[in-house]
Symmetry: D2
Subunit: 349 residues, 4 copies
């Protein structure tokens, strides 16, 4: 895949770093600091993350896969299993990190829209107490999901309650949790309260690269610092991860970035959803638009625009994923929308 | 451990980021780039790393522990073993990452100065062909070692030859390889030619945070990209790791940084080695001075200066590690030397 | 679950040891023998296993789960994946041994009858070359499957060919391979020729407890002895595993045992398949009958007979698994068949 | 290594099965039994094992390596470490099973006689609380050690107390625990009381092949059955492991076997210890004699007798291990002693 002219809709990871984050890195570069997180910048960042989420402790790591694995490693023994959507990043896009590092099985569930429900989870609870079977221990959900959808707070609370009733902990992959908070109009703490451990994603939200693992109870945090190091996620110059977090949390920049990206996705969806032959595969509830178009249209659009063909459908249909970011402009969106329209029209002529 | 007044001699990781590296990060923040390394900045950085070392491929990762584990994972099956110095970072300071992620045993060897030799390695080659024993497969060395010492090129070549004669691959931990090249007055390629896989450390050399795994033969690189992802080391906004590498390689900044740090260590050693009651535990061959002093002196010195007590010795003696960095000034060194002198003098009165 | 009066149909593992196997154990108990397999009994047993299957080497292990894991460990790196039926023993009944010991992901496939096909496998081959995804490497099939069905030799050969065309190795779980050979009327070698590595199950076939991993090519056997030891499967008094294998191979006892068990299953199926309200969930192609009956009938039958309720169906239906063994008699079968008939009749009155 | 004429002194594993054990296997082969341990024979065996050791639960496994790994897996997280003698079976002879299956590091300690002490353990307790270091959690000892020595009960209790004071659990490898009880003249429970988890070895004591993991507290047993299955140690026809245990426990056969083996070792040591040029490398406290002789003598003796050269010494010396078993006769011992004498005499002429 090569760079194209114009704004990429390929991923919110294609975006660069927010200027405030870059500025924070420069500001943190002020003389020496003790390594591995025993410094003021890190203390402030983790304290603010905890305060924002109502968490007991926070651990900065390098990327989203690492956050998921570290979080789960605090909850699970090798014979225990994680119930997750079959489309989840954890299952599909982490190259088997869970299996290798945790040594545990993922019990995957097909879903309509990337979201688990008590009913879907219950289907994977067979075999409890049977020593031949892995023992379900964790519900793993993503908020936002890989399909751009969000759980409502009510849905999250139902999952949480179901988990507690069934001896299951909840891990929430928050690589795009900012977009979820923006969509739901709720606080980070509102979402975090529905999880035992969650991640807070910085990278897709304008950071250079950091994620945080937020642990909601003291008990689950036991040994977390050793797991992080053993999992190769302890930054020596930690202050430069922490400074990113501080920059995003200051004046709720994280939320502003997410609101903007969400708004751009909504603008895009509005512009193309009504076009002939264009459908929305999933409701637009964050910064991703999953549009169903024909393969020929996708091919034509791909000449000039960067996006992912998410899945192949029946006949000549496919779903393309169009992601917006903190720095996507209305003009970018309008340009893409025009191109989609052109691709559709050319099909019809 | 808290920040102290003045320059830290606690670690080269206590230093911040070289201005050229920060500038490169800002320069790389130019619009969108495809994620996960499929971008121009990364292509250039890896090409330059390969060129400098004579390597076939290069993989950027987040930290030194990760570089070691990724490199070893390309060489080893779980029942095979890594022979390393008992003082090695791999054995002591990586919280068992090798055991957890590789599932293999480290066969440790006591050494006088952190350096392996054919004779020392030979002692751990018993049990080959015995199915009850792990099978030695890799010689793991560090250049610079954890004790600040360097192998000569001749020693490296002897190890390499010994390895080849005995069916052993060589992995070289190059977290401070720049300091070794500076000390030996040789090229990166001269050192790299003695290894099958090595790491190139950026973080201790003025980077914000990156290391590179350099693979010298095409065969060993098979599957490296999957191992990196599975080991949670694939950066999404890779260009910002790559930009750091490019900045350090430009105009041999990496070498200049290392030379300076080495020179400061030499200056420090010269200033304190002759003082009464002060000894050098190891020859000073890089940017670390391992000084043997009394515990009382160490305690007194620790009031104002940041360093590590490396090991406790007999009677009231201990070894303190004094590290210099790319940004340590002659005045910093002279200040510390004066303090050491004062601590010594106060003892004598 | 407690013992019931009369023959158990709960599992072929409920049966005891064939008298010839017990006699072989006693005969092998003749003075000393070198441990860990360096003895005559083991040499003979492994040679005979290799000869019967056309294999290059054979490794005795303790149970079926261990055979599967050892076999797969010779084929796979942690980032590679195993494609298997979602109902497979490997996926369902081994408590996550694959994930823990191999560190790899199982890519599961829903099937109609426990059998994979090129078409089903092809669906899991997406993402090859994508570093975010595990890379499919092994097709794992069972012959007999967990649902009692057998692949025809033609189907096996098609799978094998498909695998070779797609860079996939084939592992065959032969815990009940004897029953498959008996059903197909073919040799062990006919089946083995369709796999790269397979297991040969002794335990369900009248042994006290042993399985063999048969490796068809020299290359794949590299390091097998170390994997076996590391996986805790090296018996010290190996001759007593080997003696069991020798006893089963002598005069084709393994085949006679399997033919008998298959015949008893066929007799049972014939007797009950026509009864009102009784269906066969899968074709009877080995020593298992999967009968669909009502839950009430299953409950009533369970008062006196030992069997597994395999799965719950819609309404009040369920599938019960009725297994025969080498020592199941026609009278046992007729007794059970009569009980099924009685359960059905009582329902109707 | 090939079989020699006469009794082997190569290992207590070279011996066959005690007649009472074989008889118990035949007796257990009485009709059907539910698999995987849900049968009467297993219930009785585990109850008796628990009673004999004062344990809360017992888990039968296939071999000693498996017992060690299962036991440790109940005590340890991957970042925690096991302190053990560098000569321990766990470290030397299990092909890295601990590293692969537990993912943890062994912190090895050189010892004079295979025995740990509070002082030796204390040396490995550095780095606690340092996230870069693995965290010591378990003291692993063997009773009998690999060098044939025994801890006194007082020594065991001191270790236990030291462990409790230092937050360390104790695992005791009891592959030859019977020989220790026989040597110390104490009960199994006396030894077991000094451990949190221990193994009870059957195989070297006259069994065909079984070991038991005995867990002294209910809390530590949590999840043991799943670990056992996942670690491929769940026997389907469990009654045949259990029957062996029952046979050894009946009328204290285990103790009689061990006493006899110990007596034969003592007889051997008495006969050869005074010979010129023959030394005892370690005190004889079980069923092994570690004799120091010259290499030429070892070579000559090896023409007719089966034993292991344990280690090479300075000059032309080496240590040979001479093991006795439950079935070693006084005549066997006298024959070997005469041969040693002849080898020594021939040297002197």
């Amino acid at each position: 895949m090569a760079n194209k002219v114009g704004k990429s809709f390929g991923s919110d990871n294609h975006a660069g770093v927010h200027p405030a984050v870059l500025a924070a890195l420069a500001a943190a570069n002020d003389g020496d600091a003790v390594a591995y997180g025993d410094d003021e910048v890190t203390r402030i960042a983790t304290a603010r993350l905890c305060a924002a989420a109502g968490a007991r402790s926070a651990y900065l790591v390098f990327n989203g896969t690492a956050a998921n694995i570290l979080g789960l490693s605090l909850m699970i023994r090798p014979y225990e299993a994680v119930i997750c959507a079959d489309t989840s990043h954890l299952n599909v896009d982490e190259c088997g990190a869970a299996e290798r590092v945790l040594g545990c099985k993922l019990l995957t569930v097909p879903t309509a829209d990337g979201k688990l429900s008590p009913r879907l989870i219950a289907e994977r609870l067979t075999g409890r107490g049977d020593e031949h079977r892995v023992q379900p221990r964790v519900i793993q959900i993503a908020q936002v999901t890989e399909l751009g959808t969000c759980y409502s707070l009510r849905e999250l609370r139902e999952l949480r309650e179901f988990g507690q009733q069934n001896g299951l902990l909840t891990y929430l992959d928050g690589a795009r949790i900012a977009n979820a908070a923006a969509y739901l109009g709720c606080s980070l703490a509102d979402i975090a309260a529905c999880a035992d451990i969650l991640s807070f994603g910085g990278t897709k939200n304008g950071a250079l690269g950091f994620e945080a693992v937020l642990v909601m109870s003291e008990k689950l945090a036991d040994g977390a610092q050793y797991h992080r190091k053993q999992q190769m996620q302890l930054a020596s110059k930690m202050r430069f991860l922490a400074a990113q977090a501080t920059a995003l949390l200051a004046d709720d920049l994280w939320l502003a970035n997410a609101r903007h990206a969400n708004a751009m996705a909504a603008r895009l969806a509005d512009a193309i959803a009504g076009l002939p032959g264009v459908g929305l595969a999933y409701p637009v509830q964050s910064n991703g638009v999953f549009a169903e178009i024909s393969r020929q249209q996708a091919f034509r659009l791909g000449q000039d625009w960067n996006f992912h063909v998410w899945s192949e459908g029946a006949d000549d249909r496919c779903v393309v994923r169009l992601m917006t970011a903190f720095d996507t402009s209305a003009a970018d969106v309008d340009g893409l929308a025009a191109a989609v329209k052109a691709a559709v029209v050319s099909r019809e002529t």
